[in-house]
Amino acid sequence: MIRIEARETLSIYWKLGLPVMSALLALLLASLPLNLAGAPILESYKQMVIGVLGSKFAISEMLTRATPLIFTGLAATLAFRAKLWNIGAEGQLYLGAMAAVSVGTGVFDISGLILVPLIIFCGCAIGAAGMVLPATLKIRYGADEVVTTLLLNFIIIIFLQYMLEGPLKDPMGLGWPQSSPILDQGMLPPLMDRMRIHFGFIIAIFCAAVAHFMLIRSIWGLKLKAVGENMSAAKHAGIPVNQSLITVAAISGALAGLAGVSEVAGLKGYLTADLSPGFGYTGIVVAMLAGLSPLGVVISALFIASVFVGADSMSRAMGVSSYLADLVVATALLCVLIGGFVSRYKIVRIAKNGGKN
C-alpha cells in the first residue's frame, strides 16, 4: 500500500533542482517522437532555443505570446485564491475583445488619449460582468461556478460568431466573419520598431505587480485569503464573504477581459473567432504552475510562451509536423506539473508486516 503525504520541508537543492530535472525529463521524453519523425534531436533543440532567444524578433514573439497568458493566469490566480473556480476566462476574454471592437472601431472617433482608456475600461467592465453573473448565481442559488463558467464559454463563443456574422461584421471584410479594424489611435502602441510586442505587455506586468502588492499588503487581500482558506471562520469573524467573492469575481473577469482587449487592440487589430488558441484555459495551467502567486504567474507565463514559441519555430525549421510542437508543449507542461507535485508531496510506502491481509 502507498500513501501520499505533504512534505514538511524541502531543501534548497530540491527546490532548484526539480524544475531543471522536470525540464530535462520533458526534453528526453519529447526526443522519442522527434526521433521517430526523423529529426536530428540536438539540432531540433538548438532550433528551439534559437526560436525563443536567438534574436530580438524571437524574444519579441515570446513576450507577445506571454502577454495574454499573464492576464488569464492572473484571472485564475485571484479567483482560485478565494476558492472561486473561474474556468470561464476564455469566454470573458472574448467578451472583453467584443467590447473593445464595439467602442474602438469608429463609434467614437476621438483622440487616442481618451479612446485607449475607454476601450480598456469597456473590455474590463464587460469581462467583469461575465464573471459576476456566475458568482451571483453561486451565492444566490448555490449554482456550481465550475459548471456555469465553463458552459458560459460556449454560449459566449456562439454569441461571438453571431456578432461577427451580424452587428460587428466588417462591411469591407469581403464576407469574412471578422470585425472592422480598431481605429489607429485606439491601438495599444508597439514597444519596438517593426516588432509585434506591444504596450499590453507593460499593462500585464503592471497588473501582476499590483495584484502581488494588494494580496500581501491590503485588507482586501487579507479578507480574500481568509475567505479562500476558511470561509466559515471568515464569516464568523465578520468578514462579508459574499461581497469579497463578488469583488474578486469582478477583478478576475476584468483581467480575462483585458487579455481580449490586449490581443485585439494590441496585436491583431480586428476580432475573429480564432483570436485565442485557448488562452483562457492555458491561464489555469499558468496559475497552477505559479502556485497561485501573481509574480510567479509572470514567470510561468514566460516559460509556457517560450515552450510554445520555441516548439513552433523548431517544427518550422526542421520541417516536421506542427503536431510535434504541440506534443513538446504538452510533455513539458506535464513534466513541470509532476515536478511541482513531487516538490510538494512525497509518496510513502506503508509496510504491512504481521498481518495477512
Partner: protein, 505 residues
C-alpha cells in the same frame, strides 16, 4: 480477581513524524475487570487503543492475547480482522452507524457473509434480543437509527460488539454525549456484563467517572504509562497529579454580587440542524459581572443559541436587547462592534484561519480598526507589535507570530481566540465549550480568564457539556433541553441530570 491476564500489551511504541505518540507502553488486562485508561488530550490513549484494534501498526512492541482455549498467542499487528477474531471490539467516540438502517441491520453490517443468498434476520434478531436481556442494553430494533437518541445509538454500538462475541470491549469516551443518569445506567449494565467474563477498557479524561466506575486505573502522560493504581486506593488529587505531572487545580468562582441586566433575549426561536436542535421561544437575561452557565447534552439547541448570539443565524422570532438597545439585522461584524465577544465551539472551523499567521488571526475581527490599517492597507509593524503584546499577555506559545496558526497546539489556539476576544473588552462573552479538548493546564487558564473577565464586569454565557465545569464556574445555571431553557437554583448533579433529560425535577 487477579488471575492471569487475558490481554497483554508489551512495550508498544508509535511515532507520528517527530511526535512520540506512544513510547514503550506495557499494560495488562484481566478477565472481568474494568480498566480505565486516563490521560489528557494528546496523552496517547486513542493511539494505543487504535494499535490494539489494528487500525495502526506499532513501530515496536507486541500484543499477546488469549485465544478461545485459553493459551497466549501473539496478535497479528495492524490488522483489524485479526483483532476482531481475537474477540476485541471497539466503540468509537463518534459512532459508526448507518442512520437510515435499523438496529438489526446496523449490528449485522459487516458480519454477514456477502455470498450468502438469504439473509437470516430472524435468527439474528433472536440472538440480539437475548443479548439485550443478558446485558440490559435495551433499544428499539425496528426503527431507523437516525431517529434514536444518542444513548440508544451507543447501546447499539455496544450490542454490535457483543454480537461478534467480544471478550475485550474498548469504549472511547463513552459518556461524552450522555446525561449523568444515562452514564450511570450504562456502567451498571457494563458491570453486569463483566461479571459474565467481559473485560472492558474505557478511555476517559474525566476523573470523577473513572473513580466511580473502574476497578483499576492506568494513567498515560505524553505517550508514556506513568502509573497504574487500583481504584480503591485512588482519589481525585492523586490521579490528577499523575495526569498532569504536577499539581494543577481547576479554578472555581468566588461568589460576587452581580450588576444590572445587559443582554436580554425574549421569545427567541431559531432553526437548528434538526427539530430537537432548534431554539423554541427562549428567554434569557445576562447580568453584568456574572457567568451564566448553560448545561445540557449537546444537540439540544446549544448550537442554535450560539449561532444567534454570534450573528451567524437570524432568529425566526423574538428580540435581542443589549443595554436597552434593540439589536436588529444581526451579523457577525455587528455583534463584534456592539461588544459581543464570541468563543466558538469548533475553534478550528470557526475560530481561526489555520493557514494564516498568528498575527493575522489576532486582527481578523478588527480589520476596520485604524490601528491596523490606513486606507485599506495593512500597518504591518502595528499588527506585529499588537500580536507580540497579546502573545506575551496571554502566554501564547508556538513558533512565533508569523507562523501559521494551525501549528499551535489546541490550548494555544484557544488562548489566541481569547486574546482576540478579550482585547476588545466585550460587554458580553459567549464561551461555547471553551475547554473542550484542552489539557488541564490550558483548561485552568481559560477558566481563570473567564473569571477575570467576569470581575471586570463582562456578562459571560458559558455553554458546556461538562456539568462539573458549569458547577465550578457558573453563578447561575440554565438547563437546555429540546431547544428550551429552564432556570434552576439547584446545584445537585442528580437533579440537574434529570432536567438535562427533560424530566421536571
Amino acid at each position: 480477581m487477579k488471575s492471569d491476564p487475558i490481554l497483554s500489551l508489551k512495550n508498544l511504541s508509535k511515532r507520528f513524524g517527530t511526535i512520540k505518540a506512544n513510547e514503550n507502553i506495557s499494560l495488562d488486562l484481566y478477565r472481568g475487570e474494568i480498566l480505565a485508561l486516563l490521560g489528557e488530550n494528546g496523552a496517547g490513549k486513542t493511539t494505543l487503543m487504535n494499535m490494539l484494534f489494528g487500525h495502526y501498526m506499532p513501530d515496536a512492541g507486541k500484543i499477546e492475547v488469549t485465544n478461545a482455549s485459553g493459551e497466549f498467542i501473539n496478535l497479528a499487528l495492524g490488522n483489524p480482522k485479526a483483532s476482531i477474531a481475537a474477540g476485541i471490539g471497539m466503540v468509537h467516540q463518534h459512532f459508526t452507524l448507518a442512520e437510515n438502517l435499523d438496529a438489526i441491520d446496523n449490528i449485522l453490517l459487516g458480519s454477514e457473509p456477502l455470498n450468502q443468498l438469504r439473509r437470516r434476520r430472524k435468527i439474528a434478531e433472536n440472538k440480539i434480543i437475548s443479548l439485550m436481556q443478558e446485558s440490559g442494553l435495551v433499544t428499539p430494533l425496528d426503527i431507523a437509527v437516525g431517529q434514536l437518541t444518542v444513548g440508544e445509538r451507543q447501546r447499539i454500538e455496544i450490542l454490535k460488539a457483543l454480537y461478534r462475541n467480544v471478550r475485550i470491549l474498548i469504549l472511547d469516551e463513552p459518556t461524552a454525549v450522555l446525561t449523568p443518569q444515562e452514564a450511570d445506567s450504562l456502567f451498571k449494565n457494563i458491570k453486569g456484563m463483566t461479571s459474565h467474563g467481559l473485560s472492558v477498557i474505557f478511555i476517559s479524561h474525566k476523573l470523577r467517572e473513572v473513580l466511580a466506575y473502574s476497578n483499576r486505573i492506568t494513567v498515560l502522560r505524553q505517550g508514556k504509562n506513568v502509573g497504574e493504581i487500583s481504584t480503591s486506593d485512588a482519589n481525585e488529587k492523586k490521579i490528577a497529579e499523575l495526569m498532569v505531572g504536577s499539581e494543577t487545580t481547576l479554578p472555581r468562582r468566588q461568589p460576587a454580587s452581580t450588576g444590572k441586566p445587559i443582554l436580554k433575549l425574549e421569545g427567541v426561536s431559531a432553526l437548528g440542524r434538526g427539530l430537537r436542535d432548534s431554539l423554541k421561544n427562549v428567554n434569557l437575561t445576562v447580568m453584568r459581572g456574572e457567568i451564566l452557565g448553560i448545561a445540557g447534552v449537546s444537540g439540544n439547541g446549544q448550537a442554535a443559541l450560539a449561532a444567534v448570539l454570534s450573528g451567524m443565524t437570524i432568529p425566526e422570532m423574538g428580540t435581542m436587547t443589549l443595554n436597552d438597545e434593540k439589536l436588529g439585522n444581526l451579523d457577525p461584524a455587528k455583534m463584534v462592534s456592539k461588544g459581543i465577544g464570541r468563543i466558538p465551539e469548533d475553534r478550528h472551523r470557526d475560530g481561526i484561519i489555520g493557514s494564516m499567521s498568528v498575527a493575522e488571526n489576532m486582527i481578523i475581527e478588527g480589520l476596520s480598526d485604524p490601528t491596523f490599517q490606513t486606507n485599506g492597507f495593512l500597518k504591518r509593524e502595528h499588527i506585529a507589535a499588537h500580536a507580540r503584546n497579546l502573545s506575551d499577555e496571554y502566554d501564547i506559545r508556538g513558533p512565533g507570530i508569523s507562523a501559521p496558526a494551525q501549528l499551535l497546539s489546541g490550548g494555544n489556539i484557544q488562548k489566541l481566540i481569547l486574546a482576540r476576544v478579550f482585547h476588545n473588552k466585550p460587554k458580553i462573552i459567549l464561551a461555547n465549550q471553551p475547554t473542550r479538548g484542552l489539557d488541564m493546564g490550558a483548561a485552568a487558564d481559560v477558566a481563570r480568564r473567564l473569571i477575570d473577565a467576569r470581575s471586570r464586569g463582562s456578562g459571560i454565557i458559558l455553554i458546556s457539556e461538562d456539568l462539573d465545569e458549569i458547577l465550578r464556574l457558573a453563578d447561575r445555571i440554565l438547563v437546555m433541553h429540546d431547544g428550551k431553557l429552564t432556570e434552576t437554583q439547584t446545584r445537585d448533579r442528580a437533579t440537574l441530570g434529570l432536567l438535562m433529560a427533560g424530566q421536571a425535577a
